[in-house]
């Protein structure tokens, strides 16, 4: 992906994503924060498209926007009214300090490593990803699936109504 359009697209996306990320921290209403977080996720997916890694961009949207954002929305909607506003907490001071510390670490890491700028972008097609996943990386893939299944079963057990209550629901 190169040419004039990419530059424009990159800066526009960067502006949108960082703006939304800032909005997440600043916004009073928790729900506004989650929606801005969704805009950030979409912005990050846009970056993946710019890096011509379409599969990961689509995966990003499906997983983050499609599932995790909905999960967060449900979490917020189900919490009672009082906890829902992003109000002032005493933790603002230490939070800013921690933020600055993390920021410096990231900046140092970015400047320290020299990025191997790839001459032509490798055709990372879904097929190679699939083959890689099921050949060299098959172990983490299986472990991840077992983990997800366990989480699924756990969730169901958590919410399952007890036996006799389930009877009168049917």
């Amino acid at each position: 992906m190169d040419g004039a359009g990419v530059g424009i697209a990159f800066w526009a996306l960067a502006f949108v994503t960082l703006g939304a990320a800032g909005g997440v921290m600043v916004s009073r209403n928790l729900l506004h924060a989650v929606l801005l977080l969704i805009v950030t996720f979409i912005g990050v997916a846009g970056f993946f498209v710019l890096l011509s890694a379409e599969f990961i961009a689509m995966a990003q949207i499906v997983i983050y926007v499609g599932a995790i954002a909905v999960l967060m929305l449900f979490a917020i909607v189900l919490t009672p009214r009082t906890i829902r506003d992003n109000s002032e907490t005493a933790m603002v001071g230490p939070a800013i300090l921690l933020g600055i510390a993390l920021g410096t670490v990231f900046l140092f890491v970015i400047y320290d490593t020299e990025w191997a700028v790839v001459a032509s972008d490798p055709a990372l097609s879904a097929e190679d990803l699939g083959k890689a996943l099921l050949s060299t990386w098959v172990l983490p893939f299986e472990i991840a699936s077992v983990l997800l299944t366990a989480a699924l079963v756990g969730a169901i057990m958590l919410v399952r109504t007890s036996e006799e209550e389930a009877e009168d629901d049917a």
């Binding site: 189900l78 919410v159 399952r160 109504t161 007890s162 009168d168």
Partner: protein, 369 residues
């Protein structure tokens, strides 16, 4: 809900402006998620206090009131009131008058059930299609009413002692042309809905009223017959010569919304059968007896009842030899059928509550009088 996922119930108003409360009727439902914990009905939005007004008008002047209580079956209301006054004043109605009354009451039942069954299909979600078919046929009935009585909805056609005017000439062939088309529409409507799995899933086992509760809660009409109780005033206490006609009463299996729907559909077919038999044997002679305008029935009380499309419609009249009734009470079948609304809706979801309300087939004019 299990003890981990805690959600506190809140009150939700279904009505008075709501697409499927069949008029200005409100259900204050306490809801926990989708399940209804408590349902309390709020009525009275359409209360015109007819019973007070009727005490200041003569017996004949009260007839237009009865059109406006159950505005979906004005002929049946007129018939009920006239029977009560005739019983009070001991007036004989000629043969032809009774046959015309039967034809009109049964046509009105078909028109009312068209509305009831169609609205019920709307509540389960078959949006507008079945009700449009039924409405197309109901229009023909209303045209027939307009041809005979001059009005489509509030006909004011029956008088004490018979009917206001005799049947126009083209009445018979108009009705005979209408009956096969109506039968075809009933089959279409039933074919579209009764066998449909989604309709069965939405209506079967929903809002079940066991027969003991139905009798104890003094329900009547399709509500009572839905629970398997074979009680129809046209058979139990025949009026206007119903004993001459051969027809059956449909009764249900377990008193759920689905049974009440198929009963209303079947009742339409039976009514068409009665209309045909009445038309075949239409006797000649006068259509009504002469009754003085300011009728003064002897002192006493009388209670007469008919099988209106919604149930047992009764009129309790007390006369003190004055020109106007001393006490005029209407037994509203829709209101009394609502006694079991709480038992039907509590425990189910909001969607079931709407289906339950649709299966009772209420008319708010009759509830609030």
């Amino acid at each position: 809900m299990s003890e981990i996922v805690q959600s506190e119930p809140f009150v939700m108003n279904i009505g008075p402006q709501h697409p499927s409360t069949h008029g200005v009727f409100r259900v204050k439902a306490t809801v926990d998620g989708e399940r209804i914990i408590d349902a309390e009905m709020v009525i009275g939005y359409l209360h015109r206090s007819m019973e007070k007004l009727a005490e200041e008008r003569t017996y004949t002047q009260n007839i237009p009131f009865t059109d406006r209580t159950d505005y979906l079956s004005s002929m049946s209301n007129n018939l009920g009131y006239c029977l009560a006054v005739e019983k009070l004043a001991d007036i004989e109605v000629p043969e032809r008058g009774q046959a015309i009354r039967v034809i009109m009451a049964e046509l009105q039942r078909v028109a009312s059930h068209c509305m009831g069954a169609g609205a019920f299909a709307n509540d389960t979600g078959a949006w507008q299609t079945p009700i449009m078919w039924f409405m197309r046929e109901r229009e023909k009935i209303l045209d027939i009413f307009e041809m005979t009585s001059g009005a489509r909805l509030t006909c004011n056609y029956m008088r004490i002692g018979g009917v206001a005017f005799d049947l126009p000439e083209s009445f018979e062939e108009e009705v005979r042309a209408f009956i096969p088309a109506m039968r075809q529409t009933i089959d279409d409507g039933e074919g579209l809905l009764s066998g449909n799995e989604i309709f069965i899933a939405r209506a079967r086992n929903v809002a079940v009223v066991p027969h003991e509760m139905a009798i104890n809660a003094s329900l009547s009409g399709p509500m009572l017959r839905g629970s398997g109780v074979a009680w129809d005033i046209r058979k139990a206490d025949p009026y206007c010569g119903y004993e001459q006609y051969d027809f059956e009463i449909p009764i249900g299996y377990q008193g759920d919304a689905y049974d009440r729907f198929i009963i209303r559909i079947e009742e339409m077919r039976q009514s068409l059968k009665i209309v045909e038999q009445a038309l075949d044997g239409l006797p000649g002679g006068p259509h009504s007896t002469e009754v003085p305008l300011a009728l003064r029935p002897p002192a006493g009380e009388a209670y007469a009842r008919i099988e209106s499309p919604r149930g047992e419609l009764g009129y309790y009249l007390v006369s003190d030899e004055g020109p106007s009734p001393y006490r005029f009470h209407i037994r509203p079948p829709s209101l009394i059928n609502l006694t079991v609304l709480r038992e039907m809706t509590v425990g189910g979801s909001i969607a079931d509550a709407i289906v339950a309300l649709g299966s009772i087939d209420i008319v708010v004019g009759e509830i609030d009088r």
